[in-house]
């Protein structure tokens, strides 16, 4: 893939079934279709994706030494603190929102999006590239600190502060963390022999199920589009430019920590993507004054489609170029 241009990468990504299904979902909303994936099936698929990606990551993690992964973990933790701080400051330049709403944005952009990561994984695998298996560990690690930093930033502006005990409990015991961490543990414990028996389900079906899931996410994002107009161009600019920056930070950090080009691209995707499972719930309960019309619209209506369509190949291109510069690969 090294010789293909960024445009070819982008086109290959655009023509993959998952991304096309996402576009179909957007279109379904545009033609006022009543198409929806039923809520319980949507929930079950997100459990399937989280657990499956956790187990696969765990199987891979088994072969990694602590020596190999401590630096990537440290870098990830750093990104988990710096990205929400950056989002808090930079969103001010673009939107002039109050501290509570910017704290909410920081919590979303500091955390990460499973589906964007998954789509990137499919992209990397389908173009025959390598990426370290323990990236899933980094995904799990990056989920939480961003949310905490975001809430911290907002709480300073909030009289009454935040019920930290309740909020932390909700985030740490939420299904994202339980399934990712639990899946990692299952993968580590059962290894590739154990995984073989469930591979047809958690492995073979993965891209197909993701396609169905992205159809529904396209519908959900499409229903947010009218809100995008309402929230104004400042938010659109933030929701596309900030990921470009955060993605760069992730790629650079990844290469610094010794990740492969594919691995650094994935850490870029993790950094650039914003949460829409763990963060919205936490923010809704802890910061009820923050407007979901702002943070959900930015995260789900702007950044998620942007990353899916343009970001993923771009962060890969970052990694390839930067990796080339520093003589990596």
């Amino acid at each position: 893939m090294e010789t293909t241009s960024v445009v070819e990468l982008a086109i290959a990504n655009l023509l993959s079934p998952p991304v096309l299904a996402f576009a179909l979902g957007l279109l379904a909303v545009a033609v006022k279709s009543d198409l929806r994936l039923p809520e319980p099936v949507y929930q079950a698929i997100s459990i399937y994706l989280l657990l499956g990606i956790g187990i696969k990551g765990g199987v891979a993690l088994r072969d990694s030494s602590l020596q190999e992964i401590w630096l990537p973990i440290a870098v990830t933790l750093l990104l988990g603190v710096l990205i929400p701080l950056g989002a808090y400051v930079i969103s001010w330049w673009f939107t002039r929102l109050d501290a509570i709403n910017r704290g909410a944005l920081a919590a979303h952009y500091g955390s990460t999006s499973l589906v964007t990561f998954t789509a990137a994984l499919v992209f990397i695998e389908s173009s025959g590239q390598f990426a370290e298996g323990y990236l899933v560990t980094l995904l799990a690690i990056l989920e939480v600190p961003g949310i905490i930093v975001g809430l911290l930033l907002a709480s300073r502006a909030r009289k009454g502060g935040i019920a930290w005990g309740e909020s932390l409990q909700e985030v740490l015991s939420g299904k994202s963390i339980v399934l990712l961490v639990g899946g990692l543990a299952i993968g580590v414990a059962s290894g590739s022999a154990g995984f073989a028996s469930i591979e047809p389900f958690f492995g073979g079906l993965f891209t197909g199920v993701l396609t169905l899931f992205l159809l529904e996410l396209g519908i959900v994002a499409g229903r947010r589009l009218p809100d995008v107009k309402r929230t104004g161009w400042g938010l659109v600019a933030f929701g596309t430019l900030f990921p470009l920056l955060a993605g760069f930070a992730g790629v650079a950090g990844g290469l610094f920590a010794g990740l492969s080009v594919g691995g650094a691209a994935l850490l870029g995707v993790l950094s650039a993507s914003s949460s829409y499972i763990a963060a919205p719930t936490a923010v809704r309960l802890a910061l009820p004054e923050a407007s979901p019309g702002i943070y959900l619209t930015a995260s789900l209506g702007i950044t998620f489609p942007f990353n899916l369509i343009a970001g993923i190949p771009l962060y890969y291109w970052y990694a390839e170029t930067l990796g080339g510069l520093i003589g990596w690969n």
């Binding site: 959900v220 229903r223 809704r284 309960l285 009820p288 979901p292 959900l296």
Partner: protein
């Protein structure tokens, strides 16, 4: 058959609030409650969003005083920031001690 008069409190709120509301209702001493899944729209129209599972409708049958206490609790903790509405109505039950 002897009928006793009770009050029904019906609460509709975004579903993310379920466990908190149930805890607060229990603390307020409700004798029981029933939850049904729901969706809808209101004056505020501000909800966590399509992705997180709509609303819930909670119904609880109880003595009038407890009902008023619950309204006060809702007004204090939920009405101002969350998508949450509530109303009272009248009901009759047999087995008054159950409610």
């Amino acid at each position: 058959m002897e009928l006793t008069s009770r009050t029904v409190v019906t609460i509709v709120a975004e579903s993310a609030l379920e466990s908190r509301l149930v805890a607060d209702l229990s603390a307020a001493g409700v004798p029981g409650y029933t939850v049904t899944p729901a969706h809808g729209a209101g004056v505020r129209g501000q909800r966590e969003g399509d992705i997180q599972g709509g609303n819930i409708r909670i119904e609880t049958v109880l003595p009038h005083d407890t009902a008023l206490g619950i309204l006060a609790m809702l007004q204090d903790k939920y009405f101002s920031h969350y998508a949450c509405v509530a109303w009272l109505s009248q009901a009759s039950v047999v087995r008054g001690e159950h409610f």
